[in-house]
């Protein structure tokens, strides 16, 4: 996200013209539009193998993300434990570009529980809870704010290393109508720092740091069209985690501005997912689309120096919009009962979705790179039935192929020799997969 200088003082503008040009050319600040892994891949062994569908077709605890209304389908307690991993192979080619981009692999554990409430009479088999949890092995939330000229994949690199927690409740209202709600949680940081020397003359700091919870809302509804078909719609509010640390220094003999080290660590745009699914029979199909409100993405960290109220037109760099645009993601998923036995079933799954990039072409100094993605999804499940212990073993896999993209720099804005000038080409792929065991108890 570029920054622009404030309204300059004419006298100072001349004196500092060289510095200002340098600032405009380089002193903008950008960051990745980091978001949660469930927004990139979907959540749960079944939904991720079915093209991240689920608004009408989700089953089990993964409905807490896909559509909480469908939690009300639960009839037995289930606990799911899983492990999943992501590998990114991204390329940026051009002057000053690294070619293969470094992107740390990520792994994490998945824990989910489906808990129908055993109520009686008119509330029998009507209400269920779902808990859906994913914890990366190392990092709960990754917040990266890089200088804009630094090549970075805006919506991919850090998005898959984020803790996620959804807790939801679904209610069957009868006559095929279900509704549900859930919360999705992230954590951000807010704090202040005051610096002084201690009584011995050594560096001493007084830090007040707070971990702040941020919550997003998930609301869903579904309606059965006869026995075999269902439509569903899910709304997810934006989910963002911010870090903001304000550093104040006094008694230095000269004034130092407060340093505002701030930015968005994670961001999911608000979105609406609609779907129609065949939910009965040996072959089940889900088709839908997700609208993502990326144009609301504020993008940037806050300026390092914030103009004080008494000097609102100071020359400190300011934030401008990254210019992201809304996207629509079409999805399809198919599940087929491949083999059936009185004691077990074997299910095959496949899906596809197309994720358009919300990031505009990088014509200026910024190199916030992003590509459209074709995502092919696969999976299978072995479900054991009584008299064996009831449960499932599932595996799931996604391959995201980045559509090659070129960014032509506007040389009237970009200095010759700038990183990426005159042209940057990007491509790559993403591998995602996991295994999970579900026990019914």
């Amino acid at each position: 996200m570029p920054l622009r200088p404030g309204i300059p003082y004419p006298r100072r503008a001349l004196r500092r013209s060289r510095a200002l040009l340098a600032a405009v050319a380089a002193l903008s600040v950008a960051r990745a539009a980091s978001a949660s892994p469930q927004d990139v891949f979907g959540y749960g062994p079944r939904a991720t193998a079915l093209g991240a569908t689920g608004a009408a077709s989700a089953e089990g605890a993964e409905a807490a993300w896909a559509n909480p209304a469908l939690l009300s389908l639960a009839r037995s307690r289930e606990l799911t434990l899983g492990f999943q991993a992501t590998r990114l192979a991204l390329r940026a080619d051009g002057p000053g570009m690294p070619g293969p981009m470094h992107a740390e692999p990520s792994e994490g554990t998945l824990v989910a529980a489906q808990l129908p409430l055993p109520l009686k009479r008119w509330l029998r088999d009507r209400i269920a809870l779902g808990l859906a949890f994913y914890a990366p092995t190392d990092v709960l939330v990754r917040g990266r704010v890089l200088y804009p000229e630094t090549p970075q994949f805006a919506t991919l690199a850090d998005r898959v290393q984020t803790f996620s927690l959804q807790a939801g409740l679904g209610v069957d209202l009868g006559r095929g109508l279900r509704v549900g709600g859930a919360i999705s949680a992230l954590a951000g940081i807010a704090g202040t720092v005051h610096v002084a020397t201690d009584t011995s003359g050594a560096v001493g700091t007084k830090v007040d740091d707070q971990l702040i919870a941020t919550f997003g809302r998930i609301v869903g509804a579904s309606y059965d069209l006869g026995d075999a078909y269902r439509v569903g719609v899910t709304y997810r509010s934006k989910l963002e985690a911010r870090f903001a640390v304000l550093i104040t220094v006094r008694d230095l003999g000269f004034d130092v501005p407060e340093f505002n080290i701030a930015g968005l660590a994670q961001y999911d745009p608000w979105q609406v997912q609609g779907e129609i699914a065949r939910v009965k029979g040996k072959t089940r199909v889900a088709v839908g689309a997700t609208f993502k409100r990326w144009s609301s993405y504020p993008g940037a960290p806050e300026p390092t120096v914030v103009c004080p109220p008494e000097k609102p037109d100071c020359l400190a760099l300011r934030v401008t919009s990254p210019g992201f645009h809304d996207t629509v993601v079409p999805r399809v998923g198919v599940e087929r009962e491949v083999l059936a036995d009185p004691r077990f079933k074997l299910l095959g799954r496949a899906g596809y979705f197309y994720e358009p990039s919300p990031a505009p072409e990088q014509k200026g100094v910024s190199n916030q790179l992003d590509n459209d993605r074709h995502a092919l999804t696969l999976g299978w499940a072995v479900a054991t039935l009584a008299p064996w212990p009831e449960g499932r073993f599932e595996a799931y896999f996604q391959l995201h192929k980045l559509v090659p993209r070129a960014h032509e720099k506007d040389m009237s804005e970009v200095a010759p020799g700038a990183v990426g000038a005159p042209r940057v080409e990007t491509s790559g792929h993403v591998l995602f997969g996991g295994v999970a065991v579900t026990a019914r108890f």
């Binding site: 709960l140 939330v141 009584t199 050594a202 830090v207 707070q210 390092t304 020359l315 108890f441």
Partner: protein, 438 residues
């Protein structure tokens, strides 16, 4: 130019950390009984006190409660305005059978009202209530499993999740020393909230219907902050521009949670009376100070006569706090009045916690005192409260009063910058927990 230290200080943004449940209790029944429940807990609180207790649950249980703690902690008779503690507590316990063995999954949560956690790292010479200042502002999320392979034996375990902060950052651009808010600066941050998992284990043995024994273990957690900064740019004063480079390294620990081993016993001396006792060994001797260790170096040239560049500040020398291990005794009693329709309980408890903090005769000022806690509570059980609910409705309330008798600190050095002081305090906590068994 201590401004560099200021920039460095952002690196000290501290972690989320240990939990307040050990100090004020998790669940009103447990808090009312002085938290002497290692051999006698089966609800969501078992995720904290003894995960093996989850396997004793017979029905799907949902719990939600609220805790409020007001603190009046004094230094030299003046209130230090230590933050109150407020938060929601609760969880889910889901029992069942796996391979025909009783099995349960439990999730326990304590969510502070205002924030998930609050950490304040201070200079080690500033007097501060070390155990109560920020330790009470912490999130707890525990996910546990338990099995009951024999009628008399239950085994449980799981992890509690915490989070710390680590990161690198850089500031670059031109700083205007004559007009600071015209400084053309930008920053780059690579900061993570990292996962910290703390192991919890527990065993419960029921040799008879009247006696239960419990043993629980909580792992140690300390959050290691390793942070580095590189600041490059230019400083301008009176029209003179000078290149500046500042590097800084910082390492600190915070939110220390000591390793704990608790042995508990629970007995029914009368069919309607339960008596519990716990002894907890707390390994405070491993405590590490939250004070940061910082090193820094400044390079700036061409400003002679314009700007007085101070020498590098001395690296922080962190004193070993030399905390001591302690054994915490807890007792609790519960008496039941059983009516055909409703069961009512009265409860009481007592806890004594000897201070692990040694006399602060040197330059450090970790303030603490012994702590006596008396608790009271009541509970109501309503079986089959409605046609749609075959289980039970539970409501528990509690109140507790903690007294920290005065402790005097006398410095070895009569010229000590802070000098001696007196510390004492009181804490009042109360709360309620509503439970539904389906």
């Amino acid at each position: 130019m201590r401004a560099r230290a200021a920039v460095a200080a952002v690196l000290l943004v501290a972690p989320a950390s240990a939990n307040p449940l050990g100090t004020y209790g998790f669940g009103s029944r447990e808090a009312a009984m002085g938290a002497a429940v290692t051999a006698d807990t089966s609800g969501a609180s078992a995720t904290f006190y003894n995960p093996a207790g989850l396997a004793r649950a017979e029905r799907l249980t949902l719990e939600l409660g609220h805790l409020q703690v007001n603190q009046r902690l004094l230094i030299d008779g003046r209130d230090t305005k230590t933050d109150p503690v407020k938060g929601l507590s609760g969880g889910v316990v889901a029992p069942g059978e796996l391979f025909r063995v009783p099995f349960a999954f439990g999730l326990g949560v304590h969510l502070p009202d205002d924030r998930l956690s609050r950490i304040r790292t201070m200079r080690q010479d500033i007097p501060r209530w070390e155990l109560y200042d920020n330790r009470a502002q912490l999130l707890f999320i525990g996910a546990m499993l338990a099995v009951r392979p024999a009628r008399w034996l239950a085994i449980g375990g799981g992890v509690a999740f915490l989070s710390s902060t680590r990161g690198d950052f850089a500031i670059s651009g031109r700083a205007q020393l004559d007009s600071p808010y015209d400084s053309q600066l930008r920053h780059q941050v690579d900061a993570d909230l990292t996962t910290v998992r703390v192991p919890y284990l527990g065993v419960r043995v029921d040799p008879s219907d009247r006696w239960s024994l419990g043993l629980s273990y909580r792992g140690e957690s300390k959050l290691d902050l390793r942070l580095d900064a590189d600041i490059k740019g230019e400083a301008e004063k009176l029209g003179i521009v000078a290149p500046v480079r500042y590097t800084l390294g910082s390492r600190s620990f915070d939110a220390f949670q000591p390793r704990q081993l608790t042995l508990g016993v629970s007995t029914l001396p009368h069919p309607r009376v339960r008596a519990n006792m716990d002894l907890t060994y707390v390994q405070w001797s491993s405590y590490e100070s939250a004070t940061s260790r910082s090193t820094s170096h400044l390079e700036i040239s061409g400003v002679d006569g314009v700007l007085a560049v101070p020498p590098d500040t001395k690296p922080t020398v962190v004193k070993d706090p030399e905390f001591r291990d302690r054994v915490v005794p807890r007792v609790g009693v519960e008496g039941w009045v059983i009516d055909a329709r409703v069961k009512v309980a009265a409860r009481a408890g007592y806890v004594f916690e000897r201070s692990p903090v040694p006399p602060q005769t040197g330059t450090t000022n970790f303030v603490d005192a012994d702590r006596h806690t008396v608790s009271l509570g009541a509970g109501v059980r309503v079986p089959r409260p409605a046609d749609v609910l075959e289980g039970e409705l539970r409501l528990d309330v509690h109140a507790a009063w903690s007294f920290l008798p005065e402790r005097r600190t006398v410095k070895d050095n009569p010229a000590d910058f802070v000098g001696g002081y007196r510390a004492s305090g009181r804490q009042t906590s109360y709360g309620a927990t509503l439970g539904v068994l389906f």
